[in-house]
Assembly symmetry: C2
């Protein structure tokens, strides 16, 4: 397999992007990434696009072909992949594979979602399609409900405290302040988190990510050509992609997502690193408790130690591993199909030394994207070239 590098990144701000259609959002991110990479358009050979609920919330399917057209790339193979909130991570993986396996030399990868033009009820129903409609969702479960149950189990099993979980929100909102792409740029206190509106007991409003519009894009090429296009290329060291149980009742352990564990193992093996080698990670904090579980499933901390790790600052900017320096899904925002690509965008900035919340020691970085309540996960490991 050939080594793969990222030579250009782009992203819209996340939030309510009034007046921008879903394709315009994707176009903006792609144009920025292409411009940065200095790859001429005629050299782009393929497009992979992550999108989850575009058909429902933006009445737009066939998005990859449409996006190729709007970018002046009509003709090239363009593929939309959908794996719920992990759609962006799956798109990125396919771009990487296309180059690693020698099929293409230049690939554009993007993720996009438009959500704020729909009502909260419509968004909740659309996101619930990530669950098993026939076997779980139809009886009334939603994702806040599922993660409320998961949080309760983590607290009961490991003694994780409500305060520890709340500190994820305090940390991530605090980090979002400096990120120009973040939807929320205002710090919150632990009291504000614990006093915010109850959503699905014990989950409260500030344990949840916002409804967001946004897009992110990346340009990939073989590592041995990367320096012709960018002064600080980033190398893709490892990639993992795995599935897991789709419903709570099929999970043997409500406090761990096997898809994350498997994807991380694959990515680490490919990259020849261990979790201890990673200084910075963007993980899928679709709820506060999900960040704690991710830091355990990814091997940063032993099972049950994720809560104390937040409390003692181990996941802070100067901690053992800086987790979600972008502000994460909770503060930066979560345009679901874009998130997996946006995580890679943020880590490329970290490895270039250009991040808003720069992790000084950043040499090896990890992105973790999760679909539904663990039905699918991707893990990507990045390093400097």
């Amino acid at each position: 397999m050939r080594e793969v590098a990222i030579i250009g990144v782009g992203s819209t701000p996340f939030g309510r992007m009034e007046g921008s259609g879903i394709i315009e959002l994707a176009v903006a991110a792609c144009r920025e990434a292409l411009a940065e990479s200095r790859v001429p358009r005629r050299q782009v050979q393929a497009l992979y696009l992550g999108n989850f609920v575009g058909e429902r919330l933006a009445s737009q399917g066939a998005l990859a072909g449409l996006l190729a057209g709007r970018l002046g790339l009509t003709g090239i193979p363009a593929t939309k992949v959908e794996g719920a909130c992990a759609s962006g991570g799956i798109a990125f993986r396919h771009g990487v594979l296309g180059i690693a396996l020698g099929l293409y030399d230049f690939v554009l990868v993007a993720g996009v979602e438009q959500m704020t033009t729909s009502s909260t009820a419509e968004v909740t129903a659309a996101l619930a399609t990530a669950g098993d409609e026939e076997r779980e969702i139809r009886v009334g479960l939603t994702f806040p409900g599922a993660f409320g149950i998961i949080m309760r189990e983590h607290m009961a099993r490991y003694g994780t405290t409500r305060e520890q979980v709340g500190r994820v929100s305090v940390k991530n909102h605090g980090l979002g302040v400096a990120n120009p792409k973040a939807q929320f740029r205002k710090p919150v206190t632990l009291d504000e988190v614990l006093g915010s509106r109850l959503i699905a007991d014990p989950l409260r409003l500030f344990d949840c990510p916002p409804i967001s519009d946004g897009a992110a894009a990346l340009v990939l090429c073989p590592a041995d050509r990367a320096r012709d296009f960018h002064g600080k290329p980033v190398r893709v060291l490892g990639s993992g992609h795995a599935t897991g149980p789709a419903t709570l009742w099929e999970m043997t352990d409500l406090t761990s997502f096997p898809a994350t564990v498997r994807a991380a193992r694959e990515a680490c093996a490919m990259a020849r690193v261990t979790p201890a080698d990673i200084q910075v990670a963007e993980v899928h904090d679709c709820f506060t408790i999900a960040e704690i579980i991710a830091t355990e499933d990814l091997g940063f901390f032993p099972k049950g130690e994720g809560g104390p790790a937040v409390e003692d600052g181990s996941t802070g900017l100067d901690g053992r591993v800086a987790v979600n320096p972008s502000g994460g899904l909770i503060a930066k925002g979560h345009p679901v199909g874009a998130t997996g690509c946006a995580q890679v965008y943020e880590l490329v900035k970290q490895l270039r030394g250009e991040a808003a919340n720069q992790v000084r020691s950043a040499e090896i970085a990890l992105a973790h994207n999760l679909g539904g309540a663990g039905v699918v996960s991707t893990v990507t490991i990045l390093g400097k070239l």
Copy 2:
């Protein structure tokens, strides 16, 4: 690149599959394909799934991960791709690439759609997401409308007659009679086609495919291992995947789809064949006129000769090239995300000599899948191993 073979196929009947959920449909097709291939489940390394409107019509996203779980394949990377009505063809291509490039040895590919549980208005709105919502669909165009305009242009430009176009329906309904998987198994006369209800002038009811449920699945492995699993493996000779203009106003020629032309050129080059080498084809007759255009774009007949070719029997079972011996989308049915895989299913049966409407000379076969009004297309060329 390694040679790829198809060693197992499965399909539900197409039509109104009352009582079967979308995942059950996919499971049924996959189980049949896996059983036929005799590949043990633990050896399946990846799943690619084509699906278009599942999130809207079946409230089900994340389908690839869910399907992997129901099949007892939890853990493997599972990817849903969506490219409107070409979703199945794109899924098949990715399965082929995964093996050709050495990433996997055994891949399961499937396509599925559930449509009959929704109203015709809901189905029409969901299918319209294949168009450009912002720039064309919002003003009122639907796909029957678009293909009505295209048909009118083909008739004006080339003198194609209403009767010639109608004969596509007569031929395909006639072929559907013998196909046990077909939704319509009743012959129709030219008078019945020309007298059927007007849908979008000049398109009439019998120029259109039905609303269908269904799924199809295929098991792939490297060609050099195929005979260990099936006595009559089928070889994938070529694969093409291309995009084209997404809207009518961006098309420079309303009577040709550049995505088809480009995908066919790529597939033929890879297979080292010309259109003249092909004896049997399943092409994307989403409307009668689309079959005529496909036979021209694929190079079976010169531009403008597609109409006369139907009339003189050149596309019949014993013609120059047998087109849609399955009955095509018009008679067999069109569960949109499944169609691309179902076309390959039918051609595998042809190359094994097991088809309901067997083409005696079948040595090289072509499958053509189209999304929207040409925004994306895949072409696959198959031969005996």
